[in-house]
Symmetry: C2
Subunit: 766 residues, 2 copies
């Protein structure tokens, strides 16, 4: 995928030529989304040339089907259902004919084929010349975007310019309900656990024949979600004949040489399927959207979209001088991050965004720990919506804690869409109790970075308290050492070690979770806000809980090996044998595909950052020798078999002053998807790693930290670059940070002056 990096400006991914594999692979990279709908970068006529087609994939955030998880040996409390993001009817499908001969890349002669993903404008364009077997020749320009202004809307603009005389053009669009993937299921088939198989259609569909536009009512049989999909199209500057048969529309017209014919096409996917069966209301809204779109026209809608995109970049761009490829890779990552985030307070961010079927569309801790910081510091209103989603699933998290026999508090699901646990393997799923503290940490960071007291003292407070309650109910004072508050039977972030006692990361995060709850209750009480009083009353808060949390936090056991001066990943980690890396053939990586869990778990070997991640998050609590020793030890035993690992090691390399390692890790992660480093980009982008890129820049090289209610910076620049510049939103202020080899400049762009610490010295940005 080197051409993507080399061609075009640092704002563009440019694909040229007709290699089917390249075109298939770029489907993921060329995905467009607005956090509500996402659609992969497949060709318009892909259906008619399977060799250019991997997976059309259009998705709506949160729209999913459920099916029972089949356990060969069931146990009480196991996650009950798969949750699978349902692929939706394809409304991008279009083809055209020149004098009756249908175009595709395998017929006639196509030349100058070129696709461009414009990151700045959020447009995917396609251009080529086609000559059919009769030597009739046309130039074709196709453009598409998913609107940030109208969440339901996908817009397409197809322009054909005849280059030869006397051409009859035919356009054909279909709203493909994916019927050929499967029939309407029988009652028995609906119960079939294999429904999660992604090659199957996960919905039933019904054509809304009373509507003027091609429209479908789709329904997921088991999860009972209802949505409407519709399309509308019109020829511009030409009076062709049109015909509509069901979901298929055809336009035929005669066109003169050099006189463009344009088909504008809009597709809309309804947006309130999370609120029960609202079919008539959704249909009405969709009809209006489509009517309005036809009326306003493609050009105007696009202008608004591009404008919105420019506002995003104005706040969120990271500029780097000295490496254009990297500049492009960075923007590509931020572009996809921005696309992936749910914005309605009811949805979140899938591990793959809305770019592919990987991980069934589930939300993980990836959101809070890898992706959210970017939003908190550049698009806090989106960060808030993502956290509000967690608040909406609190009732289910409370149920889950009960199912796990934890008497108080909540337990967030390890992976989920609808708020219920969907992990079918609890040792690396539900046992990752740290998800609770991860979310609490994000709530705290958001609250401190934005000063958003409305959230902090309301939904935020409730999350902090309920998660704190969980820890004191789940952990206990060691039966052999009453002074130690211990947390047993958990799995930390490192999934190559499961079901241990006192995972350092988990315990440290839980300790801060307890502290956050105490701090936020105290603050809110001092502030005497009605909202927080309401919350405290609603959840039966008692003042004695503060003492309980403080005591547990102070007594929190943090395993440490005094002899070697090393932080222990957990109680028993250092007793294990070291993994034999030398005896492990290259082809046996990633280990999880080549070794039984029982073979992996009993060794000192890490899939990803664990202790090192904890020391990044609270780096000011550890002295620099400690961080160096731990970094050296754990790096040696880490495989980075998780895509979440490298960015953290890169950041901590910056922290301990190892700029070479920091740079290398960064370069590995920044271009992960464009270069298909993990060899599975076809299933979707690695959104958390994209977040990790921003973290690497801002928390790695600029070494930004938030503690004591203040931002701290200790920036430096790898020798390979001349300049890096990014913006930070803090409370109501926006400021720019520019790092060069000579030093760092801070510039206030909006709002009040901001007091920070720069290299340990107080500094006011004004």
């Amino acid at each position: 995928m080197q051409q993507l990096l080399e061609n075009g400006t640092p704002w563009q991914l440019v694909e040229t030529g007709l290699d089917p594999i390249t075109i298939q692979n770029n489907e993921t990279l060329f995905s467009l989304s607005n956090g509500h709908i996402g659609t992969r970068g497949s060709l318009e006529e892909a259906k008619y040339t399977p060799s250019y087609f991997h997976n059309e994939g259009t998705y709506m955030n949160g729209f999913h089907e459920i099916s029972p998880i089949n356990y060969s040996e069931w146990a009480f409390g196991y996650a009950a259902n798969h949750q699978t993001t349902s692929p939706l009817p394809n409304a991008k499908q279009m083809r055209f004919a020149v004098n009756g001969e249908w175009f595709d890349l395998e017929h006639g002669t196509t030349s100058d084929h070129r696709r461009v993903l414009d990151l700045q404008k959020g447009l995917l364009t396609r251009h080529f010349i086609w000559e059919n077997s009769q030597q009739d020749k046309v130039e074709v320009k196709i453009e598409r975007f998913v609107s940030y202004d109208i969440p339901e809307l996908l817009a397409q603009h197809i322009q054909i310019i005849p280059l030869t005389d006397g051409v009859e053009l035919t356009f054909e669009t279909i709203l493909d309900d994916l019927e050929k993937l499967g029939k309407k299921k029988t009652e028995d088939e609906i119960k079939d656990p294999r429904v999660k198989n992604l090659s199957e259609r996960l919905f039933t569909s019904e054509e809304l024949t009373t509507e003027t536009f091609p429209m479908l009512h789709i329904e997921t049989p088991a999860s009972q979600m209802h949505a409407i999909v519709g399309t509308a199209a019109q020829l511009r500057n030409n009076d062709g004949e049109s015909e509509q048969i069901g979901l298929k529309e055809t336009w035929t017209c005669h066109a003169k040489t050099e006189e463009p014919v344009v088909l504008e096409r809009f597709a809309a996917y309804s947006s309130f399927y999370l609120e029960g069966n609202q079919t008539p209301a959704q249909t009405k809204v969709l009809r209006q959207i489509l009517e309005t779109a036809l009326k306003i026209g493609y050009k105007k809608i696009k202008e608004n979209h591009v404008q919105t995109m420019s506002q995003f970049w104005e706040k969120s761009d990271v500029v780097i001088e000295g490496d254009d490829h990297l500049q492009k890779g960075l923007r590509f990552n931020l572009f996809h991050l921005h696309q992936a985030a749910g914005r309605n307070g009811k949805t979140n961010m899938s591990a793959k965004g809305l770019t592919g079927p990987g991980y069934e569309g589930h939300y993980f801790w990836d959101t809070e720990m890898y992706m959210l910081p970017f939003f908190i510091y550049t698009q806090p209103e989106i960060a808030k919506q993502l956290l509000l989603y967690r608040h909406t699933i609190l009732p289910k998290a409370k149920e889950r804690a009960k199912t796990l026999s934890v008497s108080k508090g909540v337990l967030f699901p390890w992976r989920t869409i609808n708020g219920e646990e969907a992990s079918a393997y609890y040792p690396a799923g539900t046992a990752q109790f740290h998800i609770n503290a991860d979310i609490a940490h994000a709530v705290h960071t958001y609250s401190k970075a934005t000063g958003d007291k409305d959230f902090a003292y309301n939904e935020g407070l409730e999350i902090l308290i309920e998660t704190a309650r969980f820890w004191v109910a789940f952990g206990h004072y060691d039966a052999l050492n009453e002074k130690a508050f211990v947390i047993n039977g958990v799995t930390g972030p490192d999934e190559y070690t499961t079901m241990v006692n006192n995972n350092f990361y988990t315990n440290l995060m839980a300790k801060h979770n307890l502290d956050y709850a105490v701090e936020m209750v105290m603050e809110s009480l001092a502030d005497d806000r009605t909202a927080s009083n309401d919350v405290l009353e609603k959840i039966g808060f008692e003042l004695s809980e503060l003492e309980e949390w403080t005591k547990a936090s102070e007594a929190m056991f943090l395993p440490y090996d005094e002899t070697r001066g090393l932080t222990k990943q957990d109680d028993s980690f250092f007793h294990k044998k070291l993994w034999d890396f030398e005896g492990t053939p290259k082809e046996n990586h990633p280990l999880l595909l080549h070794y039984h869990p029982l073979a992996i778990y009993r060794y000192q070997v890490n899939k990803q950052a664990d202790t090192v991640l904890a020391e990044f998050l609270f780096s000011w609590e550890f002295d620099s020798e400690q961080k160096q020793r731990d970094y050296a030890y754990y790096e040696d035993i880490t495989t980075h078999d998780s895509s979440l690992s490298r960015s953290i090691f890169g950041i901590m390399a910056s922290e301990i002053g190892d700029s070479k390692r920091a740079y290398n890790y960064f370069m590995d992660t920044a271009l992960m998807d464009i270069t298909d480093l993990q060899a599975n980009t076809k299933d979707g982008v690695h959104a958390a790693n994209m977040g990790g890129t921003w973290l690497s820049m801002v928390q790695g090289f600029a070494r930004m930290r938030l503690y004591n209610d203040q931002l701290h910076f200790e920036p430096y620049l790898p020798e390979q670059w001349q300049k890096v510049s990014f913006n930070i939103q803090f409370h109501s202020s926006l400021f720019q940070v520019t790092i060069t080899q000579e030093g760092t400049a801070y510039k206030l762009l909006e709002g009040e002056p901001v007091d920070i610490e720069h290299n340990g010295t107080a500094l006011r940005i004004e």
Copy 2:
């Protein structure tokens, strides 16, 4: 099921009356088996009266179907296939008509209905009077047995005595191929993981129409096992007309008052299905068996069977004076134990014997640790066959060790039929590595108790060495303490605690496993036997291994809490919180059905004996205060949610001199199935618990131990009994032990004098 205990002699289980539920429940208890075939105690005409019918169930030991295990989250090395004992065609089915009116319990008037399981003779008999709607009256006596002399043979004897005049009798037999349970499967259906569903037929069948007798060739589609089932029947003392249509035969005759008409019927299930498709050979053998049976006749075959049964009881009976119910319960348990054991060196003992579909017919550690001692000390030739089965699966166990990345030795499957791991939940399956040491322990006990050097220095030696090799490859010297050999990431017998480091039971068993290997190699070398030399050469034994095993055994880490003087179940056990028994409602037992594994594992709570089991097996290595302290501690936290628990606590109560507890535990376990204590006897008997009964008597009350190559006794009797008497086979000698309140008498019955220790003093039984 109180009537079973109260009616009849201590040799009989007697069921009277027509209660459908009672008749259904007794199907399991009235099962007949010879270790090759087993058939449940269903009524002959059950098919025609579903209300009297739970599960007809006829099985052949080892005859099973496989189907892929479906994992929602697969990982490397997971067990690939379910293995499910296949129910077989029903050859017991028979009904009769009186003057054209078919008999069943719901038509006409049945009186004096009575079924008797004769434990002494191994016969199930049925007797009743039936009057049809025309007042025609007959007396019916039906008897069946499964032959110990001809493993393939099930014999039935149906006698009808007209009590009224001028009766026409019709007999109808069917070889039911279970077709109505399911059709011949399609290619797709064969791959369906749900094939393991036991309500389905697991084989395809083909009628052998060229044979004279009704015969079926059956085949399991996936595991590719082939077997033949055939029946033959004849009227005795009456010349009736007979007709055969396919698998159905009919006899019609006129019978005079008080003149019995007898139908003798034989069914045969071929026995060498484990050796590939031997259809023609099997057919021939079966034909001969059936022809011979008809020729010899029921009476003679039965005489031989009863004779064989009496030989069994002569050696194996445990006589108890002072409690007739208990006497019956004990015999019932020994009867079923004896029935369950495979005798051909290629099969083993299912956890449910051949009495029901529970646990899919799998073999577990139950065999070696609970059932085998009974055979070792009363029927050593059967014990040997059971251990030879383990030897046949060594190649697969070697593969399994490799899959688990263990460089040397073997790993026996936790549950299996065909030698491959069939556990779909590895934390309580494959992780129970102690299975290796359990089998080694049984090999050692068998070898020492029988003096069978042919086995000990050949198959036994190979098992001991390969298991010892496993431990040194699997365990390691603690990275923080080079003097400690540790075994991490294992699950002990207590399945309420999984994936721990240094489970005391596992480590102690592994230590002995290592010692056994050293001992047996030294002995065999000293003996200079060709067999052992061959074995040592075949498996590449090197003398340096002896040192390796000795060193590991000596360094074996056995976790101990010095402060409290308690043996630790594992490294972290005592750090856990105690389970809140008071806060656990009664209906929440067994815990595994009401709490998530993550909720159970993090508490100090036992499903079954674990540390206490270890201290029973090597009781002479622990001082009596230690055993008392550990017993008291672990009893308090044990739920006995496993049927394997109570017998061990009972034995250890005897060991520590608590006769009251010992008696109570014993009474709970001895009658477990007759009283349906676990409420699931309908799925099959609890064979391991039955073995536990014998253990409780011989190793509990008589406190028999084998160490230093010698038997040790310290007998006592609970005050409730007057006398207990049992036999022990040791090497080539058989002696009787009789315990009364006054003392113990030892009497040599066969062979050379035996030197034992009685209450610490040497004693020669002669």
